[in-house]
């Protein structure tokens, strides 16, 4: 029996079938969690924010166009949830996990390659975490959610010129930290 399409699950959820929404959560929790993890840089916090993102998505399901893909929409909701959370915090509260996370699905299998991948992922995560929240948000929405400048402007409710300047400065900062832009 084929799995139900996202659209069917959304429609069932709208009719009150919460188990259908549970299935949507299971399908997209990984990617939503990674959005949150890139945004806040801390695992436990990212899990809580991912959960909050799904709750917000549930409450806003009436605004979702069921003819469009569910994944990008819920990830954008997650990015917005994270940005709101980061905007509330003081800089001192923006801290990283000390533990090292095991990245998923690396094509390399050797211990050295795995170490390199892990080290690079950790470097990027730290570099992202040191960016101001709004810079992190534009990087997330542009590079991971592949949104246009206009879509980012609308999603973050900031002028188009701010989207461009935030992206420019964020990339300059990341280039310095990742040493790939030197």
């Amino acid at each position: 029996m084929p799995e139900p399409a996202d659209r069917d699950l959304v429609l069932r959820t709208r009719r009150g079938d919460v188990q259908a929404f549970g299935e949507l959560v299971r399908r997209y929790q990984g990617s939503v969690f990674n959005v949150c993890y890139r945004m806040v840089g801390e695992r436990r916090e990212a899990e809580d924010l991912a959960q909050e993102a799904f709750l917000r998505a549930y409450r806003r399901l009436a605004t979702y166009d069921a003819e469009r893909p569910f994944g990008p929409w819920v990830r954008r909701v997650a990015a917005r949830v994270c940005l709101n959370e980061l905007d509330r915090r003081t800089p001192a509260q923006l801290e990283l996990d000390d533990d090292r996370d095991q990245p998923l699905a690396s094509g390399e299998t050797g211990p050295e390659a795995a170490f390199d991948v892990r080290a690079e992922a950790d470097t990027l995560r730290r570099a992202l975490a040191e960016l101001p929240p709004r810079y992190r948000a534009v990087i997330e929405l542009r590079h991971y959610q592949e949104m246009s400048y206009a879509e980012i402007s609308e999603a973050l409710e900031i002028p188009l010129s701010d989207v461009k300047s935030h992206l420019y400065r964020a990339r300059k900062s990341l280039a310095r930290r990742l040493t790939v832009g030197e």
């Binding site: 699905a105 542009r142 420019y168 280039a175 832009g181």
Partner: protein
């Protein structure tokens, strides 16, 4: 000369696919002849690749049970749609029922008034007939003993007078009862 090189923000827009012609064509034309800007573009490509190159991290637990437990019993979109529509439909339904009820009440009232008017008209007819009989009798008595009721009945003059009186009675009653019906309806 540095001033002859592309502005770096243009390279960002170019790689983001946000430049439209003729700006995009201008950038490509410049990159084709400027090694420094082409090098800058390549460096920027590596930054882009590094940003998206990091593998995703494994989520340690299933979030679905906690999410489902935390779901509101009545989601916010239900009031905005279902309950809103339900209230609207109920309002319309109640209005329709009231309308139907009012129609029935008015219809019943109209029927009752119609019956009353009919009975009044019938009574008026009988009263008219009685009154005309009284008039005929009184006229016959005034005419003297030589004139009989049969004479009256055959007299075209008296028959015409009687018919006119009946007609006037009908018209008068009709106008009066018509006014009563209009007042009741209003």
């Amino acid at each position: 000369l540095a001033s002859s090189h592309l502005d770096e923000s243009l390279l960002h827009g170019y790689l983001d696919g946000e430049l439209e012609d003729p700006a995009r064509a201008g950038v490509e034309a410049h990159l084709a002849v400027c090694a420094a800007c082409a090098s800058d573009l390549e460096r920027l490509r590596r930054v882009f690749a590094a940003i998206v190159g990091a593998p995703e991290v494994q989520l340690g637990r299933d979030l679905a049970p906690a999410v489902l437990r935390a779901l509101p019993s009545v989601p916010r979109w239900v009031p905005s749609l279902a309950i809103g529509q339900l209230v609207g439909a109920l309002g319309i339904g109640v209005a329709m029922l009231l309308g139907l009820g009012t129609g029935r009440i008015l219809s019943g009232l109209d029927t009752a008034v119609g019956r009353l008017v009919g009975q009044l008209e019938a009574a008026a007819d009988r009263l008219d007939q009685s009154w005309q009989l009284v008039l005929q009798l009184s006229s016959a008595l005034a005419a003297g003993p030589d004139v009989t009721l049969a004479d009256l009945a055959t007299s075209g003059v008296w028959v015409g007078i009687a018919a006119a009186a009946i007609l006037l009675g009908f018209i008068g009653n009709g106008l009066m009862l018509g006014g009563v019906r209009r007042r009741v309806r209003s």
